[in-house]
Every structure is written in C-alpha cells, then in structure tokens.
C-alpha cells in the first residue's frame, strides 16, 4: 500500500495494521526516515518537502509492485510525507512483512534505496541563512545500483 500525505503517522499502529489477521507472517522489517537538526554543519530549523502529485504515487506503486515480484512478501507499505517538517519529525516509513526475515529485510532495503533516487520529492532546508535545496548524492545512486538485476 502507498500513502503520500502531509499528516504524521504512528509507526506502531501502521505495523500492527500491516500484520493484522495474517498468521503466515513471521517477520516485519521497517525503515523510518526522520528530519535531522543539522546538515553540512549548519543548523536546520525545518525542511519543506515538495513532490509531484500523480507521478509520486505512480512511481511508488510501480516499485512496490516490483518488490512484491522479487520477494515473497505478505504485505508492504510505503508512507511518504510532504510539506513543512521540523527536526525529529517522521518523513518516510517503509515496512515489509513476510514469512521469514531475509525477504522482509531485503525488500525493505530495496524499497528505500530505490525511493531515494527515483521518487519525485525535493527537500528545501531552512537555515539561518535562508532556504537551500538539498542536492542529490552520488552514494544514493550507488546504493540503488546494487539492486539492479
């Protein structure tokens, strides 16, 4: 399931819903991305996340489908927030449920690595000097490349 929203999410509640009523599930993995208060030695007061409505949902749904083709998952979830977020706030949740841990770990890692380089989101950091756009990082491309077949 995909959700793109400005509202916060409750990780415990989301994981509970992900496994509810399915006794086949033996493993749940999750990744939660948070807003940091520092970037490149500068203090960050807030972060504004912009996205491309429509394409975001389409791209996330495509990659979730691919994860489900590649790994034996019982269920999966991607929640990504947009709008103005402050340090400590949740940005993203990726969760995968499977019978065994290997599939759940790998699929979760695949989803977040892919999402960071393909999902159309952009971050604007608010610092004392004003706003600045976060630049894409080469290491994120390298992290995604390892999942290419």
């Amino acid at each position: 399931m995909i959700r793109v929203q400005s509202a916060d999410f409750d990780v415990g509640l989301e994981l509970k819903k992900l496994t509810e009523g399915n006794r086949q599930i033996g493993a749940v993995t999750s990744f939660v991305g948070l807003v940091r208060d520092i970037a490149d030695k500068d203090t960050i007061s807030a972060m504004v996340l912009e996205h491309y409505p429509g394409m975001t949902e389409k791209q996330l749904a495509d990659i979730e489908h691919e994860a489900n083709q590649r790994w034996d998952l019982n269920s999966s979830l991607i929640i990504h927030r947009y709008g103005r977020l402050e340090p400590g706030d949740n940005i993203v949740l990726v969760a995968c449920a499977s019978s065994h841990r290997e599939s759940a770990f790998d699929a979760c890692h695949f989803l977040i690595d892919w999402l960071k380089t393909k999902a159309p989101f952009w971050k604007l950091e608010e610092t004392s000097e004003g706003g600045r756009w976060v630049e894409a990082k080469i290491k994120d491309d390298i992290a995604r490349a390892r999942w290419e077949k």
Binding site: K116, K118, P120, W122, V134
Partner: protein, 83 residues
C-alpha cells in the same frame, strides 16, 4: 502541451507550470528545451545546465531524445532528494 516545473526550476521560472503550443517542428525533448530557452532570459537561465535537470513525460522518466506530442504532460525537475 502542459509543462510542469518543480523545486529550484519552479523558483527560477517563477511559475509551477504553463500551457504551451510550440511549433510543429518540435519533435523531441531536446528541441522543446531549445525552444523554451529562446523565449526569454528567465527560461534561458533556468535551463542553462540541463545535466542538472531530470525529465518526465506523462509521469515516466525519459531521456532528452524522447519524442513529444500535443497533449503531453512534461515535467522538468532537479535530481530527486526524498526519503
């Protein structure tokens, strides 16, 4: 054709999108960008370094040689930084 701009490209262009009707001889993204740039100084500057611009046609990533046609939704944006 509907153009969409995001992040710093949106800021530089001063609008989040525009409806355009380019000449019939514009067949691909490269031709479209050249046409966008020659319209005015703001567009020329926003598209001065296309190595920093990613392109989507109808919400799918494409390369610069991808064909374009009437009715397309064409988005220009920087490399993404979500997650």
């Amino acid at each position: 054709m509907n153009l969409l701009y995001f992040a710093w490209i949106r800021v530089k262009m001063g609008v989040s999108g525009e409806h355009i009707d380019p000449p019939k001889n514009i067949k691909d993204i490269k031709g479209l960008i050249d046409w966008i740039k020659q319209r005015n100084q703001i567009s020329n500057e926003a598209f001065s370094d296309i190595s920093n611009i990613r392109i989507a046609v109808n919400q799918e990533y494409v390369d610069i040689d991808h064909p374009v046609q009437a009715g397309d939704e064409i988005a220009f944006f920087p490399p993404v930084t979500g997650g």
